[in-house]
Every structure is written in structure tokens, then in C-alpha cells.
Symmetry: C2
Subunit: 367 residues, 2 copies
């Protein structure tokens, strides 16, 4: 989403530059700790820079719209770029620990950091590709935990070091703090649902999605843009509401794409959610329908095949789960559009136009 059109190309390059600066500075000092540490940081940097930068682009798009307004603090743009880069570091640290917890070796079809550490161990020891020893796996997963800690700390350092007024710094720190707490709470829900510790109902799964993804993907960057641009707390609050709607829509779309989308486009393994028996909102809805007795044994079946996948898809359409979640996405997007376009007294025109472009790209989302 937020496809790289010419207008945003410049911002993307600026964000990449700031990210590269942050990562390179740490790489230079980290080289003192030996080749393994150095290699891990470089590998992480490479994976991070290959991302779509959705969150920093949201922050900078909203910041630039707000800073152009009368009273907007355009002088804080360099700080905004650094905070935007820090938001990407935070995102990456969440991905790393998420992949450790989910025992994933792939992300978007390619080896993730853990997978790449394993590949490197294999290459170094000359062992065959399929023979991932327990030790190599342990080394790689531990690397994922440790690199996540480093990235999380690096994000904190950026927030802590900005030479902003006490009031602005504390507002940003509050935002960061709440974001991390919510994301961790959401991840805990996700783990609890998949481990059967927390019973799966639609409300719980929706809560989980909001906490785990929506807060840090939309609320943190959009609210931070208002704080940095010197906008009032009413703008920040309105942006927070837009962000919550878009964030939940984004996550539900992810679930729909993974279940019904074209895996060549979204880059995930086809049917991976079904194969893993993942608790998504779609599944939580289906659980309340007559289709459940048919679906339950197929989801996460030990002998899962493509045929199972197609049968699950058909049942989810048939029982109304696809339609229901699809209409939830539409509702959330409509609610966001209403706030973004109606409240002209609160959300200025430039910001409104930016938010509607974000909505457009969400609506046309295929990946």
C-alpha cells in the first residue's frame, strides 16, 4: 500500500537515508564485538532496509501535511525523519520476536533473519540445506531474540535523544510507551489464542488485531506526526481515531488476503494461515456458524493439502465469514473517511487529502 508514486519517492529516499545513517553508525561501533555480532547487525540492517517503510511514510506524509499549515513546525522535519526511522526500527524488532515466537523461517516468501542465519551456518559448515541441526536452529532463533533487543533499544535511543522541548519529548515517550505495551499485549493474545490458553471468540480476536498491529502501524506514526508538527491535542486525538479504524481495516484485509488472495501477490505461502490453524477474525466468525463442524478438522490438519485449503476457502465463503469480515473492513474505512473528511475544523485540508490517499491505497490493496 501507499505505492511509491513520484510525490512520495523523495520522502522514501529521505527515510531510507536516515535509516541507513542510524544503522551504519551502530554497525561501525558494533564491529568491535567480533565478526558474528557484526554479521548479525549487517544482516538485520539489510532485511530492514528491504521493507516497504509503510509506517515511516505514514508519519512523514501526515507530518508534511501538518507542517505546511499555519503554526505548523516545519523546523522539526529532521527530528520527524529520525522518529520515523525509529518507528521502522520498532516495527522490525516486533517482526523479529514475532518470528521467534511463531517459529517462522520465512517472511513474504523469502528467508527471514532467522532463516538467513541458518543458511549462513549451513554454508559455513558445508551441511546440506535440509539438515538444519538443532544447534543451528537454536543459534538462529537466539540471534533473532538478541537482534530484536538491539533494534528495540535503538528505537528507544532515538526517541530519548531528540533535542525537543520537555513537553514534546514526554508526549512522544508516552506514545511510544503505550504503543509498546499494547503491541506486546496483542502479541500475548495472539500466542494465547494459538496455544489454546485464551478462548477464541470474535471480540477477542478483533482486540488482538487492534492491539498487536493497528496501534503501532497506524496510531503511533499518525499521532507522532501531530505531536512533532506542533498540532494541538484535538488533531492528535482525531488522527488517533482515524488510525484505529484504518489499523483494524488493514489487519482484517491482511487476514482476507492470506485466506483468499493470490499468494503470488501477497507473497505468503498459500493457505499458510489455514495450515497453521491460525486464529483470525474470519475463523472466529466461522466458529459461530453451522460450517464449524466441517471446518474444525481441516484447519491445522497434520496432513494438510491444497485440497483442504480450497475446501476451507469454499466453506468460509459459504458460511458468510468472508462477506462479514469484508463488510467490517468497509465499515472501518468508511468511519475513517468520515472523520478525515468531515471534521474540517479539526483536520486541515492537506492532512485530509493525505489520509484519503492512504484510504485509496488500502482499498486497492492486493498485497
Amino acid at each position: 500500500m501507499l505505492e511509491r508514486r513520484s510525490e512520495t519517492d523523495g520522502v522514501v529516499r529521505e527515510i531510507e537515508l536516515h535509516l541507513r545513517d542510524l544503522l551504519d553508525a551502530r554497525s561501525a561501533s558494533g564491529a568491535a564485538y567480533g565478526p558474528h555480532f557484526d554479521r548479525l547487525w549487517r544482516l538485520g540492517s539489510e532485511c530492514l532496509l528491504g521493507g516497504k517503510l509503510l509506517r515511516p511514510r505514514l508519519l512523514m506524509g501526515a507530518f508534511d501535511a501538518l507542517a505546511r499549515e499555519p503554526g505548523g513546525d516545519a523546523a522539526r522535519r529532521p527530528a520527524a525523519l529520525r522518529i520515523a526511522a525509529a518507528v521502522e526500527l520498532l516495527h522490525f524488532s516486533f517482526l523479529l520476536h514475532d518470528d521467534v515466537i511463531d517459529e517462522d523461517l520465512l517472511r513474504r516468501g523469502a528467508p527471514n533473519v532467522i532463516g538467513r542465519v541458518i543458511d549462513a551456518s549451513r554454508a559455513a559448515s558445508g551441511v546440506e540445506a535440509d539438515d538444519a541441526s538443532d544447534r543451528a536452529l537454536h543459534w538462529a532463533r537466539s540471534s533473532g531474540i538478541l537482534l530484536g533487543d538491539l533494534m528495540l533499544s535503538a528505537a528507544h535511543q532515538v526517541f530519548a535523544r531528540e533535542a525537543l522541548s520537555e513537553a514534546v519529548r514526554v508526549r512522544l515517550l508516552d506514545l511510544l510507551d503505550r504503543t509498546i505495551t499494547e503491541s506486546v499485549a496483542g502479541e500475548q493474545y495472539d500466542v494465547g489464542l494459538s496455544d489454546g490458553v485464551i478462548p477464541a471468540d470474535l471480540d477477542t480476536v478483533l482486540d488482538m488485531s487492534r492491539l498487536k498491529t493497528a496501534t503501532y502501524t497506524f496510531e503511533l506514526p499518525l499521532r507522532a506526526s501531530a505531536v512533532l508538527a506542533g498540532s494541538g491535542s484535538r488533531v492528535e486525538q482525531a488522527l488517533g481515531e482515524v488510525a484505529r479504524h484504518l489499523g483494524v481495516a488493514f489487519q482484517l484485509q491482511d487476514d482476507l488476503l492470506c485466506a483468499f488472495g493470490d499468494s503470488r501477490e501477497h507473497g505468503k505461502d498459500a493457505f499458510s494461515d489455514f495450515r497453521e490453524g491460525k486464529e483470525t477474525a474470519i475463523i472466529a466468525y466461522a466458529r459461530m456458524t453451522d460450517a464449524w463442524p466441517t471446518l474444525e478438522p481441516l484447519l491445522g490438519a497434520p496432513d494438510f493439502t491444497e485440497e483442504h485449503g480450497r475446501a476451507i476457502r469454499a466453506a468460509l465463503v459459504q458460511c458468510g465469514a468472508e462477506g462479514f469480515i469484508g463488510s467490517m473492513v468497509d465499515d472501518r474505512i468508511r468511519a475513517a473517511v468520515e472523520i478525515a473528511s468531515r471534521e474540517a475544523t479539526v483536520i486541515p485540508g492537506g492532512l485530509s487529502r493525505f489520509l484519503l490517499r492512504v484510504v485509496d491505497s488500502l482499498e486497492g490493496r492486493r498485497a
Copy 2:
């Protein structure tokens, strides 16, 4: 160590109070995220408050000595107490991720956080104590990762929020940053050594010990005390040197205690390092002696018994490993004493007396 004599009792209570404040404030806001999140935070808080508070006590002992000097900034004492509490949060976050990585369920003979989450799951599901299902284990380890992230973030928040001058805040942030980087690098060495990715020689193992433990246990609290008390950079640097010597001595003592000490006193499983085949400095030394062919098959043997443990002990004494590492400890302590007592122009009398008390308690260490 640093036994709770009457003089330090007051400080310990103050540190505990500040820690409790920090933890309770987060517990109050975290309750909004449901019972599982709430329970995890409370459980973590309880385990953390049961600790010996070695690091915050070092920080406050040195701070109080320095603040009493002419030019010492006694007004920063409340800030010092909060930073001291944050250092304990950082320590606890390292323990949590360390236990996940080492797959440990015990710490000092009692269930650690992961073990206690498993016990709670068992109690909730009514399953027998020995039947830790894969799911319960996954839930508990994931909880360890997530709680570690929360504690790490909480530590950062304290450092970031202190209303100190820009210069002092940046010095503390630099110190925090380097400490975390070194501790992660040390942990990575430790994992690499035990997974056989990094070859074990004495220098590497000593580097690992210094990075993984000495930096955050001694250097961070002692240097932070100088920064907070407004002492010059010469005091900070001298304290850094004392800290490195004491930190390595402390870690080597730990290795000696675990190998040769009384398990009823040090609280660890007798022979646990031998059973796990852990790469310590003692083992790295033995590797270079004639005893190695005898020792190698016994360390980490799948059928490990107490008899193996006793045979390893005897061989480590016989080959000189115990004596060599013991004399390294003595050397390090002597070097620390020299700096602490000789450099009266740099290290003032009160601080010197405090450091010599720390040395005393290290020398008499049984646990």
C-alpha cells in the same frame, strides 16, 4: 554479596520503594489489557522484587559517597534512585531472555518466570505436574520474551524521562546504549560457544564473561553514579576500570562457585554447568591441558550422574584449572583495590572505602 548490613538497609528499602512505584504504575495501566497481561506483569514484578538488588545497591552506594564530596550533586539523589531501579529492570530483562535462550525453567533453585507461567497453566488446566505440554511450554517461553521486551522498554523509559541537563542525559544514554550492545554481544558469544558456532578458547570465554556480565553488573551502575553525582570524567573513567576488574572477578567467581561451591549455598543445581557442558573459563583452561581427553566425554554427557560431576571436579583441580582461575580472580581483585585505594587524587576517600567494602564482600562470597 554486599550483605545487608544496617548501613545499607535504608538504601535497600529506598530502592525497593522506587522499584515498586515503577512496577505498580505500569501494573495499573496494564490491567486494561486483560487478565493474562495483568498476571504476567504481576508475576514478573514479584520475581524482580525478590532479587538481591546488587546493581542498584552498587549505584547508590557509589552515588552517596560521591554526592557527599565537595561539588557533589546531592540534589540528584531521587534521579539516582530511579536510574538505579531502571538498572534492575534492565538486569531482569536480560535474565528473562537469557532463560528463554538457555531453555531454563529454574533460577537459583526455584521456578523462574517461565517455570511459574507453566505451573500456572498446569494449575488452570488441572494437568499433572510432569506433563508440560508443548503448548504450555510455548506459551511460557513466549511470555518470557514478551515480558523481557516490556522490562527492557521500561528501563529505557526511565532513562529517557529523567529531567536532567541535556549533557548529563546524553552521557547516561551513551552509557546505557553501550551497556546493552555489550551485553547482547556477550550473550551472542555465550550462545555461539555453547552451540559450537564459535570455537572455545580462554580469551574468547573471558571476553564473553566481561561483555555479558561485567559491563552491566559493575560498569553501568558505577559509571552512572559518577555521571549523576556530577563527578568529572576522570572519576567516571577510574570507576569504569575498577568495574571491569570487579566484573570479571565476579563472573569467574560465579563459575568457580557453580563448579566447586556448595549448591545449598549458591542455590544452583549441583554440577549444572557440567551437566549442560557449559563453556566457562575453567573449562576453557582445562581444554589446554592433558586432562582434556578425560574431561571431554564427561562434560554434558547424556547419562550424566553425580559421579561424573565428582570426577570432573577432581580433574579440574588436578589439571590446575581451579587454581588458575582462582588466581585470575585474585589478580583482578588486587588490580581493583589498587585503583580504588591508590588514586586518591581521582577517587575520593568515601568512594574508596565503599569500593573496598564491595571487594570485601566479593572476597567472602559463597553464593
